[in-house]
């Protein structure tokens, strides 16, 4: 993956595959430790113990379309090479929570990418999935609920392009500090 935001988008796809109707994304940046942690929790079908044990094996997948499952194993490799961590907690029929952390100051850390771009695209093409986003860094916190956003525009014949633009602008306006070293503007 080119950047961390695309990894996030990839893990969110797992939640869609698990039939989640609600996804919670938390992006936390620790400026002192130069650490970025992302947690993605869903209310999808979850995994049993056997599935959890195999989930990081690239030759295991729950899909029937192919025999490899690279998403989590690639992510694990990337967080490991920065000295970061990956944690997966899952309960069958309840949901899954995946937390991964990157050491931003490590030379092998991929760029952060563009979170608001990935999230606005995701909401635009998956309006039926409720997404809750929390972004925090130092004293700043931004909380966003896709449901509230979409309710405001409900009934308006907006194109997907327009909706995506409004989403992107709104998110950028509120969370652009996450890219700054000290999160201060």
């Amino acid at each position: 993956m080119e950047n961390i935001a695309l990894h996030m988008l990839d893990i969110v796809q797992n939640s869609i595959e698990a039939n989640a109707s609600r996804i919670y994304i938390e992006i936390e940046k620790d400026t002192t430790k130069q650490k970025l942690c992302i947690t993605i929790s869903d209310n999808g079908r979850g995994m049993n113990k056997e599935e959890i044990a195999k989930v990081l094996d690239p030759f295991y997948t729950s899909r029937t379309t192919r025999k490899v499952g690279m998403g989590l194993s690639l992510l694990k490799q990337q967080v490991d090479q920065t000295g970061g961590c990956l944690q997966i907690i899952s309960e069958q029929n309840k949901g899954t929570s995946t937390k991964f952390c990157f050491n931003l100051s490590h030379i092998d850390c991929p760029p952060m990418g563009n979170f608001e771009d990935s999230i606005s695209t995701f909401i635009t093409v998956n309006p039926d999935i409720e997404l809750i986003l929390k972004v925090s860094c130092a004293t700043k916190t931004f909380l966003f609920e896709s449901k509230k956003f979409l309710e405001i525009f409900e009934g308006l014949p907006l194109t997907q392009s327009e909706l995506r633009k409004y989403l992107y602008d709104f998110l950028s306006e509120n969370m652009s500090w996450i890219y700054l070293t000290e999160c201060t503007i």
């Binding site: 695309l6 192919r66 771009d117 602008d169």
Partner: protein, 130 residues
Amino acid sequence: MTKVKTLDDLVRLRDELRQKLEIREKGDRSEQLIQVKVAMATCGIASGAKQVMDYFIEELPKRNISAVVTQTGCMGYCYAEPTVEITLPGKEPVVFGHVNKDKADEIIEKYLKAGELVDGIIPQTFKKPS
């Protein structure tokens, strides 16, 4: 452009838009819309599916094509990512492989506008029209 930072700003923006958009046709016509599904599993995202999906989202309204863009998981054609499944109203879905912005442009101009098939169709998915 005025900043849109709070939900109240969004409500104001919505009210402004409502006036501008009154002339647009409303209603659910999803069965008449072209369906564009972009495969967004690991293989797709790593190959540039996100950019392809954004391209379809941006370009289709510009070219006055009524379509809905959605994402899907891996269709099993990882070797040909990014892959895009397109369903024209009343027709069988067709999956195109190795789609970049140039190919997406060709698909829009030829397949979506004129129903003309273009190179890059994944053969296993293709059902000959009866």
